[in-house]
């Protein structure tokens, strides 16, 4: 492979200067950007799609304490639980408890399993206090049935255990917003296209470590504008894209051992149980059903994926695989109304020859100095649950290399909105909004819900419930457009969950596009295009699960849009 050409003098003259460029706006990229900017470093973050576009916005949304690691290394579990506790401390509004039920099959094997599982979770109980978790409980078959009547009746009993859930897109957004507050420049819809050496000698660099060694070139997809940043350090936090990004410098793709594992979820229009329930798929892999935010989610698959990372689509076969697994333990899932799917690709650390599911999900910092690229690292692997820790480790590495010795503060400084959690009912009364709308707003914005609601006083139209399914108020849409790096209707949807509910965006997407256009001074035609783009995305993601009632909804959806837009060419008469 030819070595990248050093940057030209002309390019350098037009470059801005930063200490660190972070590539990737997932939870790891935004986490590092926040950590480093809190340490006083000048950070520029580039995200080619939107914040949380990748695995971070398409995960199962669980902040678990790592019970699975207990079998081989209890210290990993302890670390995970402690970090789950830290995330709770800095973003208390953004976490919700997910109590799990694990039913075990009837018969001799099940009874033995129950003893083992009971013992296992007894050991896990020791770590629960680190994350405000409850101890596990062993339940008889009758007790299981009593707490969740929807369970299949063929278990011999089981256990409960306690985990937490979160919203990955919000987590990324809050980290990015806080990074920006601390001086970072955050550019979304801006793809890094080149990473070139500036041509400093190693000697010069070791004398003053903060001297720029890399020129990063990125392009804004909307305006076409090119950003050039000269920096001392580059952090590649592009998850499953990692090898592609590293190859923009001089790293052979194969040297980054990332195994891309596709995982899908199917979600249902409401919460049909208050427990997450563990199930087993036909091939023995674990599946689950979880109450998540205001809906029910089942997940997840894990298959090698070498397709387009910018367009990951679930298939109906994958959806059926999950539904079949979950129906074993929760039969009525077949009667629930599935309203959509999402899919992400895990950046899993590669280990040859193991069954996919057993691959380590641990994280690793790859220092490309080995490949002759001093000052470039790649973050691979990781979990939502351990993003803060991973970001801390990466930031320690970078800070050390740049000779900065300010300590990490991300475990003590609250994320935006995380200082206190206001009482939603009080807010609902004070601002005369629907109490569910207030509750969801507080979940997403913590104490920043109040200033958002205050805008209702300036303009009553801000009280408009634009998305009645979630619900999302006009005020929140304007807020995320102004304060949270949202530029399009789809960006708004990612940050607010607008359009992701039962009506699939039918009632809100075009209105959201209209608000985006008015906020950003775009033409109404562009606003409409963005609304349609959101609808199109949602329609694509619904395709694998269309059935019965949802088919009616689909036909209604189509009729509604035809009604608004007129028949498409070739249709109508």
């Amino acid at each position: 492979m030819p070595a990248p050409q050093p940057a030209t003098a002309h390019e350098l003259a037009h470059a801005s200067v930063a200490d660190v460029v972070v590539i990737g706006g997932g939870v790891n990229g935004t986490g590092v950007a926040r950590d480093l900017s809190l340490r006083g470093l000048r950070v520029v973050l580039f995200e080619k799609n939107d914040l949380a576009f990748g695995a971070s916005g398409n995960s199962s949304g669980m902040i678990h304490g790592g019970a699975r690691y207990l079998a081989y290394d209890a210290s990993v579990t302890a670390k995970s639980c402690k970090d789950s506790g830290f995330i709770q401390a800095v973003a208390p509004h953004l976490l919700f408890r997910i109590p799990f039920l694990m039913p075990l099959p009837r018969g001799a094997k099940g009874r033995i399993l129950l003893e083992l599982v009971d013992g296992y979770f007894k050991a896990y109980d020791d770590y629960q206090p680190l994350k405000r978790g409850e101890s596990h409980t062993r339940l008889s078959a009758a007790e299981m049935q009593a707490v969740e009547p929807g369970l299949a009746t063929d278990s011999c009993g089981g256990v409960t255990f306690d985990e937490w859930g979160t919203d990955g897109a919000r987590l990324c957004t809050l980290n990015a917003v806080d990074a920006a507050r601390n001086g970072a420049a955050v550019h979304v819809h801006t793809e890094v296209e080149r990473i070139e050496p500036i041509g400093q000698s190693d000697a010069a660099a070791s004398q003053s470590p903060a001297i720029p060694r890399w020129l990063v070139t990125a392009r804004d997809a909307t305006s076409g504008a090119v950003h050039r940043v000269a920096c001392a350090f580059v952090v590649n936090a592009t998850g499953a894209w990692g090898p592609l990004t590293a190859a923009l410098g001089d790293v052979a793709r194969a040297s980054l051992n990332v195994r891309p594992g596709k995982g899908i979820h199917v979600y249902y229009e409401r919460r049909i149980t208050n427990f997450a329930i563990v199930a087993k798929a036909i091939d023995g892999r674990q599946a689950f059903l979880e109450p998540w935010e205001n809906m029910t989610v089942i997940g997840t698959t894990d298959d090698d994926y070498y397709g387009n990372l910018d367009r990951v689509l679930p298939t109906s076969e994958e959806a059926r695989y999950l539904i079949q697994a979950v129906a074993q333990v929760f039969p009525s899932i077949r009667r629930a109304r599935a309203i959509g799917t999402w899919a992400g690709v895990r950046p899993t650390i590669h280990r040859w020859g193991r069954v996919e599911d057993k691959l380590s999900r641990e994280h690793e910092i790859v220092d490309h100095a080995v490949a002759g690229m001093r000052g470039v690292i790649s973050l691979i692997g990781g979990k939502l649950a351990s993003y803060r820790l991973f970001a801390e480790e990466a930031s320690d590495f970078v800070a050390h290399a740049l000779g900065v010795n300010r300590p990490c503060q991300t475990h003590v400084l609250p994320l935006p909105g995380g200082i206190s959690v206001p009482n939603p009912r009080q807010l609902a009364e004070e601002f005369s909004v629907d109490s569910i709308a207030a509750q969801r707003l507080v979940f997403r914005h913590g104490e920043r819900a109040r200033p958002i609601l205050q805008s209702l006083r300036d303009d009553p139209r801000n009280a408009e419930v634009v998305c009645p399914c979630e619900p999302v108020l006009g005020a929140e849409i304007r807020h995320v457009l102004r304060e949270e790096f949202a530029f399009t209707a789809r960006d708004v949807s990612r940050r607010t969950r607008l359009g992701l509910g039962a009506c699939g965006g039918m009632r809100c997407a075009l209105r959201c596009g209209q608000i985006v256009a008015s906020e950003r001074g775009l033409s109404p035609v562009e606003g409409m295009r963005q609304g349609l783009e959101l609808l199109e995305t949602q329609a694509l993601m619904r395709r694998p699960i269309l059935d019965g009632e949802q088919a009616q909804q689909e036909a209604l959806h189509r009729a509604y849009l035809r009604g608004l837009l007129g028949p498409s060419p070739g249709e109508g008469s």
Partner: protein, 393 residues
């Protein structure tokens, strides 16, 4: 002509048109319908009626309060999108008829109405052919009404006293605009049982009409109201219950209703629509007993007689690739492309006779028909034509 006993299944645009034509031709008509179909949720915009309507169509359109301008109307919707239509509920504002056009759009302290965005949309979509300006009419609604749904306001305006107050606040405001403005665009509120656009137009001296809104608009409510009045006038026998089975009983067709009633007739006109409470069941493929093939709409309706077959694009629903049956990906759509779901319906040859053997005693019309264009105009026209065919059989 022998007297026919016709059952019309469905009372949307297609069923209503068929029942009307059959009843005035001297048939005994029984209409069976349940719940809201597409027409009851429809927004008042009519596509699929290009050209000049036939005399029968014109007569029915005016009975249903629909006007068909000589050239396509231009209608603006709640998202500020301007689109053409062949005809429309007469309370909607046809922007094209208000030339030279300065359209006034009220601004209101109301969440569900963004006058500025609608006016901006009209300017952008009309490409300079129309102008739009906003006017503030703060007292158009009472403070309590500001948060009501559009449909509720439309019903409230059926009341004479409330309507007079509404008209008064508009008259006052419009006095200064009389010589410049040509039209006033209002939210979808202009009455349900007493359509109010035309009288208001007269009172104000400018064109007045509703914006085309989305789902469950006042236009759909007006349709239901006018349909019921029409049926009462014609003496049509109406059964409001879900049909759960269709089969044959000797020479006649028999419908089993959820209410327990049996309705029989010599002829059947199927107009049960395409979805909302539609009634299609995709037959199971005999080779696949494990997993039921894809079902849609009301699975409880069984077509015991095999004279109705369900399919798409002239064929029975195919069982393809997947071992489980038709994949949802095939049925569903994105906005970009066509999909089976749109074409799914009762199979019929071109002349409206069912798939396989053309049966003289059954006709199909509207969205229920496989590959129907699914427009109001097509349903209405198809309803009349299917009725004519039954009469000629």
């Amino acid at each position: 002509m022998s007297r026919r006993d016709v059952i019309v299944l469905g009372a949307g645009a297609a069923g209503t048109a068929a029942a009307w034509h059959l009843a005035r031709s001297g048939c005994h008509v029984r209409v069976v319908h349940a719940a809201a179909g597409a027409t009851a949720l429809w927004n008042g915009v009519v596509d699929g009626l290009p050209g000049t309507p036939s005399p029968a169509e014109s007569e029915l359109l005016s009975l249903l309060g629909i006007c068909a301008p000589t050239s396509p109307a231009k209608l603006l919707n709640i998202f500020g999108i301007l689109r053409e239509a062949d005809a429309h509920d007469d309370a909607l504002l046809d922007v094209a008829s208000a030339r030279p056009a300065l359209v006034l759009v009220p601004t209101l302290p109301r969440a569900a109405w963004d006058g500025e965005a609608i006016a901006a949309g009209l300017r952008a979509h009309a490409g300079g052919r129309f102008d739009a300006q906003t006017i503030a009419i703060p007292d158009l609604l009472l403070p309590g009404e500001l948060a009501w749904p559009d449909g509720a306001i439309a019903c409230a305006l059926d009341d004479d006293a409330r309507r007079a107050a509404f008209e008064w606040s508009l008259t006052e405001k419009l006095a200064t605009w009389k010589n410049t403005a040509t039209a006033l665009l209002l939210p979808p509120w202009l009455g349900v049982s007493k359509p109010y656009a035309k009288p208001l137009e007269k009172a104000l001296g400018v064109g007045v009409g509703e914006v085309a809104s989305g789902l469950a608009a006042a236009a759909g409510l007006r349709f239901v109201h006018r349909r019921d009045a029409l049926f009462a006038h014609l003496g049509v026998e109406v059964h409001r219950s879900r049909c759960e089975a269709i089969d044959r009983d000797g020479e006649s067709v028999r419908l089993t209703l959820k209410s327990g009633e049996l309705v029989t007739g010599t002829h059947l006109l199927v107009a049960f629509g395409g979805f909302v409470s539609g009634a299609l069941q995709v037959p199971r493929h005999p080779a696949i007993s494990l997993v039921p093939a894809f079902q849609r709409s009301v699975p409880s309706l069984t077509l015991r007689a095999d004279f109705l077959r369900v399919g798409a694009r002239g064929k029975e629903l195919a069982i393809n690739g997947s071992t489980y049956g038709t994949t949802p990906e095939d049925l569903a759509h994105t906005l970009a492309g066509p999909a089976l779901l749109d074409a799914l319906g009762v199979l019929a040859a071109d002349d409206g006779s069912p798939y396989g053997s053309p049966l003289p005693f059954v006709r199909i019309a509207g969205d229920a028909l496989a590959d129907a264009p699914r427009t109001f105009g097509h349903a209405l026209r198809g309803g009349i034509r299917a009725a004519q065919k039954l009469l000629n059989a």
